[in-house]
Symmetry: C2
Subunit: 241 residues, 2 copies
DNA sequence: CCAAAAGTGTTTCAAGTACACCCATGA
DNA sequence: TCATGGGTGTACTTGAAACACTTTTGG
């Protein structure tokens, strides 16, 4: 394998996980202490990313980053934006970081996000940590903006593609599906109306299985059929003028 | 101004124009004849593009390309995808072109599209030409795919953002608006139902002006108010599960 | 028997859909 | 007066929204 990397192009991955109480982002610790008074101490977080491989597609580079961190082999990867070199000025910390890692100041980054249930990812190292999307720590570079852009893109994708089902388990309850929508869109949805609407969709298929919680009524499980979805929606366009 | 360019990153612009009978794409002639039997003659078309400027943002590079060709100063520029280096194998023609222009085989391109009424752009040179989206000529590189991706992105954008109004004149008739939707989505819309739907939107504002055609009833003109739109839609989310 | 979450129905109103003819104009 | 495209109305069906209580289970 060819491990050479481009010095002016990096790939960043915003890793979203849906927990029972909302969306989380997987962040990577960024620390550097030169023990010099004229240089700042770096102790913050960044989204995962690396320079792109010269001999691979961008998608392959993104997959490599994601797989190394999560050990997952199935995932939904969405490219949402590419950020050019001089779009945002760098802070002292960012410049120090770039210099001490032999990177180029003028570079660009292709940004992807990955969505899945949070519990599907098991973290083994302290270098990585989940943060609730609503209370992020101090972030390096312009990663606040990148994460925000990713969520905005996800909100819109949800309207026109069935990506919501990648945020929940293969077998899911209707309440889990509802929480997924509520978490991504930051809204509350009426439970009765939501169930009525979803149950009309023939690509949400009921199973003869239930999921048992503790001390509560077991809930019915459903699966999403992409095949059925594709057939139903191929000539189905809604004009939201 | 710093004119240096990156040798491994280019910016491509798919320029869409809406005519009275559908969507068009503005293409650039690509010709090369080395008069050698072992080398192909290149005589096809490509979407507009260039290597990215080192000291500019990607958006600025895209703007420069667009403005040089169209002389327009107002436009709607949408970044929709970045293509990595090895994603598609190159043809002999493409390789010859790359070599004879001192470009790198392994490069990536950030792709934008621009949308406007076709008649807003006046072409001065034979190098550029409008082609109907439905009958494109032979294209270099993977530009068929890029154009197709651009249209797919536009179709989805139309569902969640008011970009349709960038395809038509500032003052437009309802039938022009309907043709815009029909052209982008490749569908037919019932005229009566469409008008009813649009006239309910308070951000489509009727004017006391008409547009006169020849030998037909003059048609009422409307404008789109982005301010009103933003106010109306800020808490308006439709879940299209 | 209690806490916790799952699940259920009705009414009202708004929006979507199907469908065919008259109108105003300039040539 | 005619060809051209602009413009209009109704009946029906479907979907959205508001709203509160019962059910099942494990502890």
């Amino acid at each position: 394998m060819d491990f050479r990397k481009l010095d002016n192009v990096s790939v960043n991955c915003v890793i979203f996980g849906l927990g029972s109480n909302g969306l989380y982002v997987l962040l990577q610790k960024r620390t550097l202490n030169m023990f010099r008074e004229d240089l700042p101490t770096i102790d913050d977080w960044v989204i995962t990313g690396e320079r792109a491989f010269i001999s691979k597609t961008l998608e392959e580079s993104a997959n490599i980053i994601f797989k190394r961190i999560t050990s997952l082999n199935e995932f939904n990867r969405i490219q949402f934006h590419t950020y050019g070199n001089t779009s945002t000025p760098k802070t002292d910390k960012d410049l120090l970081w770039i210099r001490s890692h032999g990177l180029k100041v003028q570079s660009m980054t292709i940004a992807y996000y990955f969505i899945q249930p949070k519990e599907r990812i098991h973290l083994s190292s302290d270098e990585f940590k989940w943060f609730p999307l609503k209370s992020l720590p101090e972030l390096g570079f312009d990663h606040h903006k990148i994460i925000n852009d990713a969520q905005e893109d996800l909100k819109k994708k949800i309207m026109v593609e069935p990506v919501i089902f990648d945020l929940i388990s293969h077998k899911f309850t209707l309440n889990e599906l509802q929480i997924a929508f509520e978490s991504v869109l930051n809204i509350e949805i009426d439970n009765r109306n939501f169930r009525k609407k979803v149950l009309k969709k023939i690509y949400v298929i009921p199973l003869n299985e239930t999921k048992k919680g503790k001390a509560k009524k077991p809930s019915k499980l459903y699966v999403f059929s992409r095949d059925v979805y594709d057939k139903v929606t191929e000539k189905d366009l809604i004009i939201n003028i």
